[in-house]
Amino acid sequence: MEKVGSVLVIGGGIAGIQASMDLGDSGYKVYLVESTMSIGGVMSQLDKTFPTNDCAICILAPKLVAAGRHENINLLINTTLEKISGKAGNFKVDLKQKSLYLDQETCTGCGVCAQECPVEAIDFFNEGLSKRAAISVKFPQAVPLVFSINQEVCIGCGFCKGVCKAKAIDYTLKDKKTSLNVGAVVLAPGFDEYDPEPTHHYGFGKFPNVVTSIQFERILSASGPHSGLILRPSDGIIPKKIAFLQCVGSRDKKHGAEYCSSVCCMYTAKEAVIAKEHMPLVQPTIFSMDIRACGKDFDKYIDRAQNEYGVRYIRSRISSVKEISESNDLILNYETENGEIVEEVFNLVILAVGAMPNRSTKELAKTLGVELNEEFFCKTKPFSPVETSKEGIYVCGMFSEPKDIPETVVEASAAAGAVNILLSEARNTLIEEKKLPKEIDIIGEPPRIGVFVCHCGINIAGVVDVADVVDYANKLPDVAYAEKNLYTCSADTQTNIKEKIKEYNLNRVIVASCTPRTHEPLFQATIREAGLNKYLFDLANIRDQCSWVHMHEPKEATEKAKDLVRMAIAKARNLIPLQEQHVSVIHKGLVIGGGVAGMTAALNLANQGFEVYLVEKGDKLGGFSKNVYQTIEKYDVQGLITDLIKKVDDHKLINVFLNAKINSIGGYVCNFTTRLTQGKNKEFKEFQHGIIIVATGAHEYQPKEGEFLYGNDDRVILQSELENLLFTNSEKINGAETIVMIQCVGSRNEEHPYCSRMCCSEAIKNAIKAKEVNPNLNIVIFYRDIRTYGFKEKFYNLAREKGIVFIRFDQENPPDIVKKGSRLSVNVVTPKLGKISIDTDFIALSAGIVSNGEENEELAKMLKVPVNSEKFFLEAHVKLRPSDFATDGIFLCGTARGSATISESIAQALSASSRATTILSKDILVTEGIISKVNPALCIGCNRCAEVCNYGAVGVRYEEGKMISEVNPLLCKGCGDCAAECPAEAITMSHFGTSQIEPMIAEAAHVEFGNGRPRIVAFLCNWCSYAGADLAGVSRYQYPPNVRTIRVMCSGGLPKRLILQAFLEGADGVFVGGCHIGDCHYIAGNQDTLRRTRDIESKLESIGINPERFLRKWVSASEGKLFSETMIEFVDKVKKLGPIESEYKNKSIKVSK
């Protein structure tokens, strides 16, 4: 049966999106099926993400938009799977889309219907904490932005149909059934939170001030029900004392489930920290059994929560919650570790609810014929973590086991990696390339600008006098044509725009409508179809940042709309066509490291037909796993390694280099060159490849001489040595009476301040095995926290059932080992039992995982990628890009990134190879059009550009004997930071450069308001502040119409002189908005913003300008309210200061025209 080059992805959460993006980028047609109205999943509900406190929607929204506009991805919302037949490579699937009662293609997402809807239904996105209309969109940044009617609450009044100018609403629309042929299915249905309501667990549902963690997440969110204020539900008062109860519905066979939900410890710490940040007066207390902070930098986060934010941790599991009926406060009784019983009153109790299998999964599994495990999660095997029981159906994310976002993203890419092997022969068969007309050459022509002003139903026209704006635009110089449209984004207007371009010979197009963040690609595609370069387009945002935020000032709003159009025209005059560069890809990969991760990655690429160079520093493949015999689930690791080595050796596309040392790696994505020496004879090799996967691994911590008597006494051994004994020489254990295990050796201390993630499971695995070998053996495990996350919790329970004793110790009082005659004696002071002493035959030290230190640093320098303070490699983004480096074309997996189990390493390896396939599968890589350019004639070779570039995309190339900076168009992301930094103005940023922005400033500042209303020029970064300003619009947060916004890609791309220019042109106040520090879309561009704006701030006073006229503020994409408040405050302040002329001694100086 012929294989089909398309994939069905079920579930539009972060996992589904990532899998779809990877598959779409690798040449498959993707159908992304989502049962709700928008993709985004649970992550879109989160306020911040741990451990970086990144704003969730800020990092997710660009992904949603990218998935929504991806040409190979078909979004099917409100859709479920009905039936599946066929087999791997060629399935037939039947889908059912429930009626939205409106036409998805016609709906423009303008939202007038929702405002008119008289129904107030429960808002499930805000977890029932607020109300929403019967016709609604899931959340403001939803993709696709389509409204739908909730039939259950709709009263059928017909208001929405009446107000819909686009005529999208049709109450008679029926459910739609489609059937498709797909080659593979990826399951990412996600999870449901444990619902404590049915059993009124901890009084939830009875006591109003007991809320779940996801509800609290919405309370914390700036776009949530209270705009980020922490108010408790019963009376809307700020709760001072907040209790967080851990393990609600997890690690609890009675309520919920036996397993650990893996994420609650961390999200609780995050919620406590963010609560404290939002309102310093709250006092968070966390009640937990173990603190499971077993990820990269998680322990540091917990430490900061405790020491910096004063979050109180109490080791106790609360049994019940009582309410004081008058005040609705809550009473908790708990036992401290030294046995004291305490009663404490809290104002708010938050239940850290665990992850349960999605309600739909049982049925889904039945439809698909996929096996579930006893917890009703999808059944997978440790060595094939993304494969279900049915061939051709893959799984990722929470559906297979509870896990956090990075693991989910890893698995999503890994599932795509598995699909790659199955379907690689059918790749690119279903992808159609759009035929576009030849571009019209406009160089040298005077600008002929077309302006299309949108009514957006009544969204714009209800406030702004659109006809007046069109008349005004028609009178402006260089405008060849202007018209108004009911909906500029509708399909017929697109045809109209194309016709008008031909008729009036337009060479620049401006649309005055909504936000470029969602609609720019649509119009760009339109003008491209008419033969214009897509960069000859600009959008004036007269809805989100004008009519929606100045609803009660129609006159001023019209004025502002005219100004915004004039600014866009000023920019359009200087727009030039930009060409994307095409670079051919070398279809070969380099994998560094021959462990399980490296071999898995190499095999994945080779099985798709790409040649692979596998480089191993040692003389054998296998890596650290050679010391491991079994996984905790009793899967044979040695067998896996032998199998992998055989497959690698037999594969004719894999070139293995043993005893290899890399001398240099040059080049960039698509075309790297590596030189190395290999083999015993130090043979020299040189080869070219398109991508690099770093899988260099890590190793076991070697205790220092005498640490726990290790090295001084033969009976003190490492956990790996014990494993060796148990599996190869178990008679040695038979004679023993007692074995003591000590956890966290070389982990979670000052030298290695992180958790090694697998030692707890390793110890439990060995303890269970030892009990099997010798059932009379006494085993005592001294631990600090048992971190058996996910389904590993079962083995912890099993170990305790088998009589293995677990005793906790504090970091300050580690076990002390003394020789006592022929035996060893362990003395510990434990928090619970006081001083105890145990005699033992063996002591097994659970040594942590440490990085390869200097070796990693050396390789990092060669690759120009970062390592963290523990010398593990640092990925591009800890949440959403766990397998990528910031530098394109270089990927990472396995323990090189941080401690990981074998199963996780395999998933990461598949993930890294899937990410690599997105490049290798293409013949030609198309670069970004908006990038920086160096004028070699002006470059002075100072290399300041390289210092500010976070992607290694620009810099002086000394090695070639010239001292001139160069931009690598493949690596440049177009933030413009280098252009802002360049002392010689040799670097220009295209599309958002000084030649485009400067005329906008002039137009923005030359506004005559009268009545002492100040003129404010606001520079906003595209990803956070501009998005925040848009959200203010969507949420209708009003602010004064004095602000003229100028969009830049990154606030770091804003040179000092443009800020001064604004003052010179007559602005009364200048605002610079960027992402929060640490949240920058371009890694750290806003650090440079900070440096430059601080410099200006420090000098404003001395040049006679009140420093209060300048404001820099970080506004995230979810802080619409903050944006509007900031604007209100700033305008007010500048108004009090008076016009800028009042600071000039000679009042005759006129600055405005």
């Binding site: 210092e947 002392p983 010689a984 002189r1057 010179l1064 040049i1103 006679g1104 000679n1146 100086i1149």
Partner: protein, 231 residues
């Protein structure tokens, strides 16, 4: 490189406040941090704003020069502009300011910067440091690459003196490193203490006293002369 620091805007403005048209000249040369066209424009904008606040109007043009300390380059690049302006503000080191005044005798060039020292760039630690004082008799060959003229407070040729305690110098209250201890360490590392033990005669301080001149290599333009030289 010549390490410079921009003067306060007030000070620069004070110098030029009597003029209404100024030419602001950046320098692409070795001045650190680089003060090229970007900095020149920022300074110009600031001065214009300052002038406005003082009730004046200031016209300006910002340009940049490859090296202001080279008379030919300075002359050819700047000459086309000067006739329209009342004064020049230079963003180079002192050398550039002096040279501009020398080349353009009929117009005053004002410094916008304080020149601090000839410094080396330590990018990793983020600082410039003065490692060479251009003394005219280089000792670095016998001191393991550590300069006692720049590093020793007493400029000793034969150190260390009795004022070093634990590798720190008594001048400045034992906060600075003793250069001679460093020299000893460095030479010992390479097993060249023989250099350290060798007596170094007194220096010729005349080579280190201002003003100093040096001849530019003569280029022979006359063909006969060239032939003669070759012989």
């Amino acid at each position: 490189m010549i390490i410079t620091q921009q003067k306060d805007i007030e000070e620069i403005y004070d110098m030029i406040k009597s003029y209404s048209k100024i030419l602001i000249v950046g320098c692409d040369g070795c001045c650190q941090p680089p003060r090229s066209i970007n900095e020149a424009k920022v300074l110009a904008q600031m001065l214009e704003l300052k002038a406005r606040s003082e009730g004046k109007e200031l016209k300006w043009k910002a340009i940049t020069v490859l090296r202001q300390c080279d008379d030919r380059i300075a002359a050819t690049t700047v000459r086309p502009f000067i006739e329209h302006y009342d004064a020049i503000v230079s963003l180079s080191c002192g050398l550039g300011v002096v040279m501009m005044n020398k080349v353009f005798e009929n117009i005053l060039t004002y410094p916008a910067q304080n020149s601090l020292f000839g410094g080396a760039e330590n990018n990793a630690e983020n600082y410039f440091a003065e490692y060479c004082e251009t003394c005219g008799e280089c000792l670095l060959g016998v001191t393991g690459g550590v300069c006692p003229m720049a590093g020793c407070a007493k400029n000793l040729s034969n150190g260390p003196c009795g004022g070093t305690v634990g590798g720190k110098c008594e001048v400045g209250g034992y906060t600075h490193d003793c250069a001679w201890v460093k020299i000893w360490d460095r030479l010992r590392k390479f097993n060249r203490l023989d250099l350290f033990n060798k007596y170094r005669p007194p220096r010729n301080y005349r080579k280190w006293s201002s003003p100093r001149f040096a001849e530019i290599n003569k280029t022979y333009t006359n063909e006969e002369e060239t032939m003669e030289e070759e012989k």
